[in-house]
Symmetry: D2
Subunit: 216 residues, 4 copies
C-alpha cells in the first residue's frame, strides 16, 4: 500500500515545491529545514497507525487518563541524504532508537553505477515497528539494499518505508523486491521519469549535494 | 464546528500527556518544545483547508507543476502563554504575518478576576485567513476578547481558533460569543471541569508559568 | 561599561550582515533565525560573567566534579521585536524565568512619537541577575522605560542590557538614564546616526516588521 | 595547541555537566540538544580565527560596511556519535559543505577492538579550513583515522580538531600522530583516565548509544 501525502493539499506541498525549486535550493539551510519539516509531518501521519496505551497522568490539578505511545518506532535512515529528513522524524519521536545505513553510488567507467552498503549502525529491531526513510526513492536500489541490511539485524513487526519524492519505477522496484506483508510505503510526491543516471525527473536534483555539498 | 485532534490517536496525544504531567513539566524546555510540536501539527492540519495555486517550478532536471499556498494565514496569539504554541505555527507557516495580543488576568480582592487587553500589535488582517491560537481555552474570556480586539483591525475571511486544551464550558462560551460563520475551532483535548479560578481540570496548570516562570 | 561583540571578528558579524541586508531580509525565517543565533552567542558571552558552583555528577563510569550555573538569570525582553532575540537566549538558558514588556510607539500628528509601556508580565527579579534584551537600541527610550518598569518589580543584583544593533545616541541615553552601577551593556554593533523617526542608520530597518510583518 | 573551553566558566560547563549526568542522560532529546548547543559554542569560538572580508551591504536605510566570512569551513564529523555535535556546527555555519566518516569499533574475541573506516562521504577540502568534530576523543584512534581518511581527499589549509570531552591519553595520541602544523585542537573538558575498553573516565559513557540507542 502506498500513501501519497500530497494527494490532498497541505503545507507539505509548499515544502516540496521549495525543495524542488533550483533558486530556493541555493539556501541549504532552508533546504535542510524543509526536509526536517517534512519529516515531522510524515512522523505525525505515520503515528496515527501506531499503538497507544492509556496512562494515568497526574496534573497539577487532577488526574487525566491519556493515551501515550506504547512503543516508539525505530528510526532508520540512509546516509547522507536521509539525515535532515531523519532529523525531522527524530524531533517528533524523540525517544526513538535509531539506525544509520550508508548507501554509496559507485560510478563505473562505462557510465553505470552500483550501490554499496558500507556502514550500518543498527539498534535492536526484532519485532519492533521500524520507519526507514530516505529523501529520494529513485531506482529503489538503495532502499531495497538498506532494508535487506536492516533485516539481517532482526525482523521488524512492521516497516514504514518513506520517501519525500519517489519515481514510479522506484516504487515498482520496491514493491517487487520487498515482501508486501508488514510493509507500508509513504511518499510526498510521485514523479514519472528518471534520467539514465537514475535521477528523478523533474525531481529536485541530488538531495545529498543540496543539503551537504558536492562530493569530491 | 469543533475539530478535536485527539479524537483519533497520534503522537499529539503523547505530547499532550507530557504537557499535563506534573513531573515532566519540571523541564520547561520540554514543556515549550511540546507546545511547539503541537503548533506544527495544528498548522499542518489547518493547512489542509487553505487555498493552493499550481505553480511551475524549475528543478535542476526539469519543470514541476506543484501546488503552493495561495496566501499565508496571519498567525495571532495571546501573550504570554500562547508564545511557544505560536512558535510552532510560525515554524511551519514561515512567511506569515503575525499578531500579538496580551490578555492579563487582573485578580480582585474578592477572589474574582477580570481580563484586560493591554497590548495589541496586529498586522493587516482584512479579508485574510487568521489563525488565533492560545495554549488553554479555560473560561473562554481571553479568546473572545482577543478575537474582538482583532476584528477592530479588519474582518478576516475566515478565523481558525485553536487551543491545545479546552474546557467544555470555554468552548460553549466561545461558540455563544463569536459568530459561528467563518469560524472553525480546533482543540487538542477537551476537559470537563474548571476550578473556581477558571483553571481547567484536570488540565495542566498555568501554561504561562510552566513555560516562562511564575509571575511576580 | 559597553561590550561590543563585533570589536573582533566572528560568525556574529556574518549574522549581523545578513540581518542588515535588504535582499536577505525578504526571508523572514532567516531573519528570525539570525536573531536567535545572535541570542545564543550573547547568552554564551554573558554566561562567562555568571556564578558557578562545583557539583558532583555521577556519570555511567565514575564521578565528575563540574561547575554548574549557581542561578539562571531572568530573561527579559521587549515586545514584539525582541522576541526572536529572546528565543536565542532562552534556548541557551533553558531553565530561566522570563519577563515580557511591551513598548509601543504612539505616533502623533506632528510627526513625533511617544513610547508607552502597556503590558508587563514579570517574574520575581529581586536580587537576581537579569538580562534585558531588545533587537535595536535606537533612541534608547524603550530600553530605559522597560528597565524602569522592571525595577518596580524588584531590584536585580545585576542587569545586562543587550541590543543586536545600537546607535551612539541611544547608548548615551541609556548610560545617562540608568544608574551605571550593576549594569553592563552588550551590543553587536554601534551605528552612528538616526533618522528623524529614530530609526538607526544604516541599521537594518524595523526589526519587528521584518520578523513579524507590518503593523496595521 | 589545545584550547580548553572550560578553562574559564561559561554555560558550556552546564551543558557538559548535563551530558555527563546519568540521570539527565535518560532524556535523549536533551542529550542531543546539549551536543547541538555545544556545537554552536565551539563554532562561534573557532569562528574568531577565520578570515573575514568587508562587504558593502545595502540596508533599508543606508549602506553598511560589514565583515562577512571569506569562506565557510568544511564541517567533518565521525558517525554516528558526532552527528548531534555536527548539527550544532552546521546551524551556525549554515552555508558550509560537509564530510561524514564512519568509524566502527570492531570488538575481537580477546576483548580488544580495532577501528575501521567503512564509509567516507567527503566534499572538496583542498586548501580549505576543515573542522573535524567528534563527541568523544578517547583513545584518539577514530580521530586520527578519520583525519587520515580526510587528507586522502585533499590537503586542508588548516584543520580544527574538536571534541566535547577528551582523555589525556587521547590528546597525546592525536598530537603524536597528526602533524602539529596547521592543526588546532579544541576540547570542552579533559578527563584523566580510560577504561580497558577505551571509555573515558569519568567521561559520560557511550555518546552514540545515549544519542541514538544501543547498537545491536
Amino acid at each position: 500500500m502506498v500513501n501519497v501525502l500530497t494527494s490532498g493539499n497541505s503545507i507539505l506541498n509548499q515544502f516540496i515545491s521549495e525543495l524542488r525549486d533550483s533558486e530556493i535550493q541555493k539556501d541549504s539551510l532552508r533546504f535542510r529545514h524543509n526536509l526536517e519539516r517534512l519529516g515531522g509531518i510524515f512522523a505525525y501521519e505515520i503515528s496515527k497507525n501506531l499503538s497507544y496505551t492509556v496512562k494515568e497522568v497526574v496534573t497539577p490539578l487532577g488526574i487525566a487518563n491519556v493515551p501515550v505511545l506504547t512503543d516508539y518506532p525505530v528510526l532508520a535512515t540512509i546516509l547522507r541524504a536521509g539525515l535532515p529528513f531523519h532529523q525531522g522524524f527524530l524531533d517528533f519521536f524523540d525517544k526513538s532508537e535509531n539506525a544509520f545505513i550508508s548507501a554509496f553510488r559507485k560510478h563505473h567507467k562505462d557510465g553505470t553505477f552500483s550501490i554499496n552498503i558500507e556502514y550500518a549502525s543498527v539498534t535492536e529491531i526484532e519485532n519492533k515497528v521500524v520507519i526507514l526513510c530516505d529523501t529520494m526513492l529513485a531506482s529503489g536500489s538503495s532502499m531495497v539494499l538498506a532494508f535487506k541490511e536492516l533485516v539481517t539485524h532482526g525482523i521488524p513487526s512492521h516497516t514504514h518505508i518513506v520517501a519525500a519524492v519517489a519515481s514510479v519505477e522506484g516504487l515498482e522496484y520496491v514493491k517487487k523486491n520487498i515482501a508486501k506483508k508488514d510493509i507500508t510505503i509513504w511518499v510526498g510526491a510521485i514523479d514519472d521519469e528518471m534520467t539514465a543516471q537514475s535521477y528523478i525527473v523533474p525531481g529536485l536534483g541530488d538531495a545529498g549535494d543540496l543539503a551537504y555539498g558536492k562530493k569530491h
